[in-house]
Symmetry: C2
Subunit: 213 residues, 2 copies
DNA sequence: GCCGTTGTTGTACAAATGTATAATAACGGA
DNA sequence: TCCGTTATTATACATTTGTACAACAACGGC
């Protein structure tokens, strides 16, 4: 007799959850939030719809977990770029910029996923919590680099405000470049972001010199 | 006998479309794209679901019209601020900034609506078309102001690239401030944006001096 | 080899959705 | 006052959705 191959395989909850999270990311990328249903995720993960309910409270709970996972992956990519750079704050910041404007960060799929997260921040307290953490970590890292550079270059600047402005610019460039790559290019974005660093190094942004509050 | 009050009122197609568009904007703001169904819009506009189908091809067609309408309203608000300012490019740019960070532009509802548009850019060619026009107009206005300022101040700068960076920063600040007003304040955003103008006036961004291509 | 745990399936069902259709009635013109 | 146009409603129907439930079976322990 042929070995009766199992109709399904059991996974440790942790493993199965991971697989469902990755399926969710794919759904968000391809179908958007509106198309990401329990059934769509289950189909993508090749499991029954009921299993999703078994591991997560509902689709929103699953999306919170996905934000946590995807956010961490992006952070790791950027941190890795920084750590691969020589031990110099300016070079690390420039490596950070370069990594921000190439895959896997510069990626239409990632934007689609991210837009779903943003649209849930308002309604879902879980998403809001993850969002705060992701962005606070993100800005914290850049603020540190900017403060380092300012210190070395003897530039007086409010690193906190500068980091807010810089992350906003990076976010905006990333967003608009993913949305519509025909209006300007990856190279344009890189020039703009690096020019900001040039300006910082040259002692620009004197208007941000005063300490906040 | 009491005057039998009409069970419904007839509107000119143009008027009814407008009402449906405004109901759609409200739905997008309160329920997000996923919750904005033909029925939800119809209920909000106090008409039957069938009427939506009578005036629009479907929910996506309706959303395209809403993008067109809302986009135009925002543009008008910003243009009005510019035109109310004295006849000086720098002052006009600063008025533009001020208008960007107060209602009705700085508004959580508007962000929720806008996020829905962004999430459709990829899949809906109609939304994509409106998006291109809205952003190209938006950037064009700022590029003109920046070029004017640079000319008056004898600053050599690629106004096109500078406008890209500036709009990205405005967008990012606006986005993140609407998403989570607790991390930084409206005043922080204003200081950051105005500092950018200070820097432009003072001859910063020398790295963007070379003409593109 | 048996058995219990529990990850997993399949089915069922109520609710919500988009769309098509025919019936209705409001409003302007004659 | 009547009449025709057509904006509008009401209904119906096929799909899709979330969720609950009972039955199943894979895997580890004994």
């Amino acid at each position: 007799m042929a070995a009766p191959e199992p109709r399904f395989t059991r996974d440790l909850p942790e493993v199965r959850r991971r697989k469902l999270i990755e399926a969710t990311a794919q759904c968000l990328a391809e179908l958007g939030y509106a198309g990401t249903s329990v059934r769509a995720v289950a189909a993508r993960a090749k499991v029954s719809p009921g299993l999703v309910a078994h591991h997560f409270k509902g689709i929103d709970d699953l999306i919170v977990a996905t934000y946590d996972h995807v956010g961490q992956r992006v952070a790791e990519t950027l941190i890795e770029a920084m750590e691969s750079a020589p031990d110099d704050a300016e070079l690390k910041l420039r490596a950070f910029i370069d990594a921000s404007f190439k895959p896997p960060v510069l990626d239409r799929d990632l934007l689609a996923i991210w837009l779903s997260f943003w649209s849930l921040v308002r309604r879902d307290s879980g998403v809001r919590r993850v969002h705060k953490k992701v962005y606070s970590d993100y800005r914290g890292r850049l603020e540190e680099l900017i403060a380092d550079i300012a210190h070395v270059r003897r530039v007086k600047i409010d690193a906190h405000l500068a980091a807010l402005g810089f992350t906003a610019m990076l976010d905006g460039l990333w967003l608009e470049l993913c949305l519509d790559p025909t209006t300007f290019s990856r190279e344009d974005a890189l020039r703009i972001a690096h020019a900001w660093v040039d300006d910082l190094v040259a002692g620009g942004f004197r208007a941000l010199a005063v300490k906040r509050n």
